[in-house]
Amino acid sequence: MDALKALKQFSRNPMGVVGAIMLSVIVATGVFAPILAPYDPYARVEVTDPAKEILAPPDEEHILGRDDAGKDVFSQLIFGVRVSLIVGFAASIMSMFIGATVGILAGYYGGRVETLLMRLVDFLLVIPNLPLMLVIITIMGRGILNMILVIGLLGWTWMARLVRSQVISVKERQFVLRARSIGASHFRIIIRHILPQVVPIIISQAVLDIAVAILTESSLAFLGLGDPTLVSWGTMLNYAFARAISRQAWWFLLPPGFAIVLVSVSLVLIGNALEEIVNPKLRTHHLFDPRKMVAAVVGVGVPLRVEEMME
């Protein structure tokens, strides 16, 4: 399956397209944050009218109101995109590389290498992640770099398992044996013959991993472990929950939460669409009442490709 065909298939999945559009808007927001944000998110706004409270609901000056420190919520929200995306992408790229490498090495070489690597994976998999991250960040100190490292270094286990199982099935295939029989080195076999087969799966999993990383970052920040020098949605919620919930300051509480949901939903929609393309088993099944087919006639389900039918 070449990239063009995959793109065509992707464009047929409405959920995936919606997700992709959402994500592009979000990324653009992050890139142009300084232009889009009306105020400095780190600076408290002078409250000129003494009749107004510092923690104020939306008005014409502040479309999402002010927080209890007098900062513009909307501007914080816009700058929060950056932390989420940076942590999400950086951590998931890290875990993608670690996971894919471990998965490929374990799957391809088998034997002791595999046993050792997969035991490590299983070990990390059963250790509850969030508590572990909590402990590590508490000890190492808060900061965006530590956040990325912790999420990236602990979040590659699924990727490794997925890639390994895929590599195992690919390496049993005849074209790999053929490559060996014409004298291809292990390196060449891995790069030229195995990697192209597993890249689609790696990508679809990596997209989901970005969402996981973003969710994890927000949870940790909410629990008070966010970078104290940066505006992040999780940190906003941490403050809001501590100080604003009793005062029903919904404008402070809801926007960052929905922003997180928006980002992760967009990624999940994309990831799900990719997975449907990658896993052909999700396409056919035998339970179907033929009379319904006659009734529906066109456009139901995911039809077969011509080559599949010929076989």
Partner: protein, 353 residues
């Protein structure tokens, strides 16, 4: 035909250890083995086509893999072009007296392990059963055929590379080559894919080709084409072919000699015509009798063997075929028959033959 042996397989054994059960391990019981190949020898002359026929589990494919040095024999010696393949592939250094690969002037003794493996891979190649599986669908036809040339650094020039690929493709009947080489395997029919696979081996000018069931996945109407392609390659380039198959009928059409395998052993070996028309071993006889023929008038008596091929971890004592043999006697339980020449060049491993 010239009878200069190019490939000699002597006393080949290939045992695969079964994954060790923890309890057995703790109890220090010996590891168990799948005896895939259990004492095989044969010789192939230069330019000859030998069929290795047998049912699944007979060990025919394993023999092929060992011949190519893709697996290491448990015991025994495979000599290809004067060199011990197992040591060659493993890089353990040359054995036997022959120091030079014939006509090539290559001194194997001076090569590194990797170089030795490459020298073997360049000369002995494999064609696989399933052209849908043996080609990487993400490579274009050109890349598939050119890959061996690139790996073996046959040429540096683009033009020469193109020329070699073109000639290999056209030899294999994909004319004009330009029409095919920008395509992906999925855009080709089964027969065309198998031609691509053959071209991908031929491009290196191999001395030996191991063809593992090259037509069994193809439609009947295109099998003959592929078989005659293999024949013409032998004719024109003097390639030696080891054809492993379960299909006696296709083997009958284009091989010179035939070795019938059962449970890791050769039970009958002889000129193809002789083996098919006057089989000596009861297993061969039964096998030939049950192959369906497209001729209702010819429905002759089938000799159906009951049961299935025994598990290769527990090979029967004596003659390995005796539990299913229609003519077995008490002697068969005791004696493990070896191949003996009954009629000229026609060998059989049965005490009753």
């Amino acid at each position: 035909m010239e009878t200069q042996p190019i490939l000699q397989v002597q006393d080949l054994y290939k045992y695969f250890p079964l994954p060790r059960d923890i309890l057995r391990y703790l109890a220090r019981k010996p590891a168990r083995y799948v005896k895939a190949v259990d004492g095989v020898h044969f010789t192939v002359s230069k330019g000859e086509i030998l069929a290795l026929v047998g049912e699944s589990g007979s060990g025919k494919t394993t023999v092929g893999m060992n011949v190519l040095g893709l697996q290491k024999p448990t015991r025994g010696r495979i000599t290809f072009a004067g060199y011990n393949v197992a040591e060659w592939a493993e890089g353990l250094g040359p054995s036997l007296g022959v120091e030079r690969l014939e006509n090539s002037g290559i001194d194997l003794a001076r090569m590194s392990r990797r170089e030795r493996i490459m020298a073997l891979r360049e000369r002995a190649l494999m064609i696989f059963q399933d052209p849908y599986e043996s080609l990487n669908v993400r490579q274009k036809v050109y890349e598939i055929v050119a890959e061996p040339l690139v790996i073996h650094r046959i040429t540096q020039s683009r033009e020469e590379l193109e020329e070699l690929v073109r000639s290999a493709l056209e030899t294999c009947g994909l004319v004009p080559a330009e029409h095919f080489w920008h395509r992906y395997p999925t855009e080709l029919s089964g027969g065309q894919r198998q031609r691509v696979a053959i071209a991908g081996a031929l491009v290196l000018n191999p001395t030996l080709i191991v063809a593992d069931e090259p037509v069994s996945m193809l439609d009947v109407s295109i099998r003959a084409e592929i078989l005659s392609l293999l024949l013409s390659i032998r004719q024109e380039q003097g390639v030696t072919i080891l054809y492993t198959t379960h299909d006696l009928a296709t083997a009958g059409y284009f091989t010179d000699r035939m070795a019938v395998m059962y449970l890791g052993r050769i039970v009958e070996l002889g000129p193809t015509r002789d083996v098919l028309l006057s089989p000596l071993h009861p297993y061969t006889k039964a096998l030939i009798s049950v192959i369906p023929t497209p001729n209702p008038a010819q429905r002759n008596k089938r000799v159906i063997l009951h049961g299935e091929i025994p598990n290769p971890t527990d090979v029967p004592q004596g003659c390995r075929f005796h539990p299913r043999c229609p003519i077995a006697t008490d002697d068969c339980l005791k004696l493990d028959p070896q191949l003996r020449e009954l009629t000229p060049k026609h060998e059989v491993a049965c005490i009753h033959a």
